[in-house]
Symmetry: C2
Subunit: 211 residues, 2 copies
DNA sequence: TGTCGGTCATGACATCTGTCATGGCAATTT
DNA sequence: AAATTGCCATGACAGATGTCATGACCGACA
């Protein structure tokens, strides 16, 4: 009980990271309605999460996964290694099972999708603050069904670049590989996903949170 | 002046429509901080916007474009024809110039993207309430540059189905066309977008709000 | 030590894709 | 009435894509 009580002096100090300013401001308004919660820092990208968390002695960081420059998952990893006392609650738009797994591997204490009722947000913040875990129930079931990411590092890289319609030659050049190798990786990824071509494979991989 | 003054008795009555409950609740919290604004109704899809607006005598409807079941644009059109007194302020995640055009064609009085500062939301609501227009400045410039959608109906249909990786044969079957015709439409769309293949063309078309 | 998985590469093959020329049909515009 | 535009279709061609067999290198693991 000593660990939790050391932080009981004031309200829970929260950092908000979300790339959409309007949503970020609105979430701050929502959390500031709670007497025991105070939003002490906000940012639109992941690169300065650690610095802000240190500076403002943050208890709980609310991180969106989708952010420019630096991904919320990467930011979560840095935060956990540099400020182990600071808990991480991930929030995301998309209910992709792969994200949940990735979030916990990055050291997050909780995971919410953005269509959770807003009344539950404050409770989730309090729960992770005292050392508990929060898992979005709609995702928990799915997550247990789906296994881990079947794609290798290279397959993910190649598939990511294929998403936007880049031809094999371009992908090969950007990765310093031969065209044949790229086609092999693509073929392998297509096989693993059970789809018919690179585009459908990339879609499935994105839905699953594999890329 | 009589029309506007008839509504001056109480606070501005706002309806919120956004498919993400967390964001919806947060926006409500943000707007309810303003003494002259009151969120009187919320919904997660477009189908009951008109009914709710009638029931709660809504002054301003804040509609997200991306919603399941019924698109915010369609809801805006219905609202304007059934309740002309109720102003519409569209909010969207994506800064696609085509959306801005579509929004004003649907009768919206304002258009904001979700990365505008949250402090401007209340001002935008007040502005449309008194009959003004609100246009996101970052989009206004783009919108004037880009002309209307250059794609024909068929090209849009074909390109939409090509997005997810469906092969020509499947697209042809689903539209009851010959494979050759589908390839012609795709080729034409690729030419108009200036891209190298169907995937890149579909990406551009989505960014522009053409499909 | 041997085996296995991931990476990289080549060559060959069948199939898919993008382009072009050409033509017919209907609706609209001039 | 003639021209234009969108839509549908066919056939032919070059190039891109997906598959497969094969081989090499490396690190991990039993």
């Amino acid at each position: 009980m000593s660990g939790a009580e050391a932080r009981d002096a004031g309200p829970i100090r929260v950092l908000l990271a979300d790339d959409q300013a309007l949503v970020r401001g609105a979430l701050a308004a929502l959390l500031n309605l709670e007497p025991d919660i105070e939003v002490v820092a906000q940012t639109g990208d992941g690169t300065n999460v650690v610095a802000l968390a240190e500076e403002h002695r943050v208890d709980v960081a609310l991180l969106d996964i989708q952010m420019p420059l630096m991904d919320g998952l990467v930011a979560a990893g840095q935060l956990r290694s540099r400020l182990p006392e600071c808990k991480v609650l991930m929030v995301t738009t998309f209910d992709r099972p792969g994200y949940l797994r990735a979030a916990f591997e990055a050291g997050a204490s909780g995971f919410l999708v953005k269509d959770t009722p807003s009344s539950e947000l404050a409770a989730a913040v309090r729960r992770v603050h005292v050392g508990g875990r929060v898992v979005d129930p709609s995702l928990a079931a799915q997550s247990l069904m789906h296994g881990a990411n079947p794609l290798t590092e290279r397959e993910r890289e190649v598939l990511s670049r294929a998403q936007s319609g880049a031809p094999v030659a371009q992908i090969a050049a950007s990765l310093h590989l031969s065209a044949g190798t790229v086609r092999n990786h693509l073929s392998s990824a297509i096989g693993k996903t059970g789809e018919a071509n690179r585009i459908a494979a990339a879609h499935l991989a994105r839905e699953q949170g594999w890329i």
